[in-house]
């Protein structure tokens, strides 16, 4: 089947829905394609808040937020992106409120704000209350509100459609191909502009806060065309996942006063970040927790967790402002944060890297200014390099609305100015080949088994602490798993809702993301932000103050070609010199 829209959005989480809304305001026809139902996107799992210098509780300024973002990103953050972000997010939060988002309120009736890791006043002096929140279900409320507004705007949705290919020819995006889950049919979508906003790929790890659907599909499709993925070595582990399960426990828990404790009850963060303690950025807290565990001060049967302590907080704070995680702890661990210490451990959470874009969301094809005409990206899928080497808590929800909005605006503007490009011949051919190969393969290997090996080996070899030896081993493991993947067969021949086929396809996407990530990480011989190498413990600004661009070598499968892109070290009006990152 064939469809035609001026602007197509892939993904219906926060970034996709914001992009769709703004594209629609640009007087162009818009459709949004999601492999789920829109209200089931993973933006809904974000809990703690969206940071913006509203100054509703304490004095605050966008310059402080920009500084925190740059420093939090260990100076790999592009400062022009950080400046645009820190200014735009203030307006964007008010806009969400005007869309009806039910924010928690201050006693004066303004949007309430609380502390979050790495957010400070006066350029690092002390923690500041910057995170706007709706209890601890801020992401859920952003997702619902943006979906509601799209219903109001009459956006067309194609639900449960999996994108299988992007149609790019001569440096111009012409549309895409998608597989309809209910019928098994391939659809061709012809478009003037396409916006990619399909989220991250946390499922390459065993312990993750990410949904089962976060398999890096569009990153892989981009990469398979010989186009670069930027800064894939920077992958964030959230310090507080529920022990064993990895389910997210918001940083808002520490923003409200929760304290991390080791087996002897010690508040160990005082040793690692004396100024802001438990509110240090995520990379630092995650490493601190793992260090405690490695040195034998962990809790639990396997001594592989630490505790978060809320017991000194009033019950109404725990059951009110932290109701969601209280419910999670009670449901999954049978523990009550009102009186019990809750065991947590770091969980794979967020990709700082992804499809490189400029400030308007336009996808870049190399490290020196080349781009793909008509193709945009936003959200976790994209790397405008707001987050640099480590994302601050709340800045993902901010990223979605600020850069989702910009992608929507500029994609619509572009679409108004151009005619429909010609469609490539045999637009569905590659997608058909992909599906046929999975359906027709005769191998006995099981996709689930390969996936499990991938997740376990990535966790062990490219996790929080890294070294060259383990990562070299992992390059080999990923190659071996890819070789086995070529023989994976799908046993269910049905056309109707063939979820076995979809899961097998997703595994192929995950293997690509793992490949780009592992090679990028092995290549970077320094420690910066979330990329921490035991064999190169120092940050090395002389050699490594640059972005990685990882390309698949199309002539030699499994080989990754690494290029670079300079970091934007200045914003439009402010610039922050790289300094040691102490808190």
């Amino acid at each position: 089947m064939h469809h035609r829209y001026d602007v197509l959005v892939v993904g219906a989480g926060g970034a996709g829905l914001m992009a769709a809304l703004y594209a629609a305001k640009g007087n162009v026809s818009v459709a949004c394609i999601s492999k789920l139902y829109p209200t089931r996107s993973h933006t809904g799992a974000a809990q703690g808040g969206i940071g913006a210098a509203l100054g509703n509780v304490q004095e605050d300024h966008w310059e402080w937020h920009m500084f925190d973002t740059v420093k939090g990103g260990d100076y790999l953050t592009d400062q022009d992106a950080a400046e645009v972000f820190a200014k735009d997010i203030i307006d964007a939060v008010y806009e969400l409120e005007h869309m009806g988002l039910p924010f928690s309120r201050t006693p004066e009736g303004k949007i309430a704000q609380r502390k979050f890791g790495g957010h400070t006043r006066d350029f690092g002096k002390a923690a500041v209350e910057r995170s706007c929140y709706a209890k601890d279900r801020t992401g859920h409320m952003i997702l619902q509100t943006l979906y509601q507004q799209n219903v109001k705007a009459g956006t067309t949705f194609f639900n449960e459609f999996h994108v299988t290919d992007l149609l790019i020819e001569d440096g111009r995006c012409r549309g895409l191909v998608a597989y309809e889950l209910s019928t098994g049919e391939l659809h061709t979508f012809h478009a003037k502009a396409v916006i990619l906003a399909a989220g991250g790929y946390g499922r390459v790890f065993k312990i993750t806060s990410n949904a089962l659907t976060l398999t890096g599909d569009l990153m892989s499709i981009y990469y398979r065309k010989g186009l670069p993925l930027e800064d894939m070595e920077f992958y964030q582990f959230h310090p507080t996942g529920l022990a064993k399960l990895g389910i997210l426990v918001t940083e808002g828990i520490r923003g409200e006063g929760g304290i991390l404790r080791n087996d002897s009850g010690e508040r160990f963060m005082e040793r690692y970040a004396p100024t802001i303690k438990d509110l240090a950025p995520r990379d630092i807290v995650s490493r601190s927790i793992i260090t405690e565990i490695r040195e034998g001060r962990g809790v639990g049967r396997d001594k592989d967790a630490v505790n978060i302590d809320l017991t000194h907080l009033p019950r109404e704070v725990i059951e009110g402002k932290l109701a969601e995680i209280t419910d999670l702890a009670r449901t999954y661990l049978g523990m009550d944060p009102v009186k019990d210490l809750v065991p947590i451990q770091p969980t794979a959470h967020y990709a700082m890297g992804g499809i490189p874009t400029d400030l308007n969301g336009l996808c870049l094809s190399d490290g020196s200014g080349g781009s793909i005409e008509g193709l945009y990206a936003a959200g976790e899928q994209a790397c405008v390099s707001l987050h640099g080497a480590n994302r601050l808590g709340t800045n993902s929800l901010g990223d979605l609305v600020v850069f989702g909005r910009r992608a929507g605006i500029y994609a619509a503007q572009y679409a108004r100015q151009v005619e429909y490009p010609d469609m490539p011949e045999g637009a569905q051919r590659d997608s058909q080949d992909l599906l046929d190969r999975l359906r027709d393969a005769s191998g006995k290997d099981n996709a689930a088994a390969i996936r499990k090996e991938l997740q376990e080996s990535m966790m062990n070899n490219v996790g929080i602490f890294r070294n060259g030896k383990d990562m070299e081993k992992q390059v080999g493991i990923v190659q071996e798993l890819k070789a086995r993947y070529r023989n994976v067969s799908v046993s269910d021949p049905s056309r109707r809702y063939n979820s076995e086929l979809i899961e097998a396809m997703e595994l192929g996407f995950m293997l690509d993301c793992a490949e780009a990530m592992t090679s990028s990480a092995l290549n970077r011989t320094e420690s910066r932000g979330a990329h921490d190498r035991e064999d190169y413990a120092e940050r090395d600004d002389t050699n490594w103050l640059k972005h990685t661009m990882a390309y698949k070598d199309l002539n030699n499968d499994g080989n990754v070609v690494i290029g670079y892109k300079p970091v934007a070290l200045k914003g439009f009006t402010r610039a922050f010199e790289p300094k040691p990152r102490v808190y």
Partner: protein, 254 residues
């Protein structure tokens, strides 16, 4: 009834962890192959703290790849995996094995009721979302927005705490006997969504929504059976919210 044997475990069991031997009985149906739905039972091992979704995933990944259901977040926020588990509507990812089965016991899993079964546990959600869309589920205030936020007190914001907690999983609506016999009833989830806007002090479309809920597909169909409240995985007091909407319709205001 088919029986798949090949006992396998949902997770690599660490030494010393109690494992339960269970039967998982799943109602299967593929309209392209089957005249009617049929039960198939699978033998699995699981830990007491595993989610029912872990068990069903295990069956799909290692025993029966064609088994079809929806799932995504694995922790009760996306609302994809509403199912009838041991006769009650629940999210498979929020239901722990120990709460529904003992060692040697059986867990039964069926699709939620009242929506057309497309394949196995996966149902057609379109009628559910059509009801949602029918109540104008979006904020309406056409007066010019201020430069900052619209002021709303903590108490006024708290009025939306229950209704805005809804994840649209359909556990409530598909547990409602009125919905089963009368598909045109908007159902509890749509009324909860209406409540969310009717009681928002910033919204200006209260009367339009009350008009919709006063129609014969609306709030008066509710017979206060409480099934919805019992089924809600988010502990929303749905019956109470429906009663509040009824009162608002009756007195024409919120």
């Amino acid at each position: 009834m088919t029986q798949m044997t090949a006992p396998t475990s949902t997770s690599a069991a660490p030494v010393g962890v109690l494992m339960l031997n269970l039967k998982v009985k799943i109602l299967r149906f593929d309209p392209d192959k089957d005249k009617k739905a049929h039960w198939t039972t699978y033998d699995v091992e699981a830990q007491p703290g595993d989610r029912v979704l872990d068990v069903i995933n295990h069956v799909k990944w290692y025993l029966e790849p064609s088994l079809t259901f929806r799932r995504s977040c694995m922790h009760g926020i996306c609302g994809s995996d509403a199912m009838l588990i041991n006769g009650r509507n629940r999210l498979a990812c929020k239901t722990l094995v120990r709460d529904v089965a003992k060692n040697g016991g059986t867990i039964t899993v069926e699709p939620i009721r009242g929506l057309k079964v497309e394949k196995d546990l996966l149902v057609d959600m379109e009628p559910f979302f059509d009801s949602y869309k029918a109540i104008m589920p979006y904020f309406i205030n056409e007066s010019p927005a201020p430069a900052t936020e619209r002021v709303q007190s903590e108490e006024q914001a708290e009025r939306m705490a229950h209704s805005s907690n809804c994840i649209l999983c359909a556990c409530c609506t598909t547990s409602c006997p009125i919905f089963w016999v009368n598909g045109s009833y908007l159902g509890p989830a749509a009324i909860v969504q209406a409540h969310r806007f009717i009681f928002d002090t910033r919204d200006e479309a209260t009367h339009q929504r009350l008009g919709i809920l006063n129609q014969n597909t609306g709030v008066w169909r509710c017979r206060t059976a409480y099934n919805c409240t019992e089924a809600c995985p988010r502990d929303i007091p749905i019956t109470q919210l429906i009663e509040e909407v009824k009162r608002a319709v009756m007195y024409g205001q919120a």
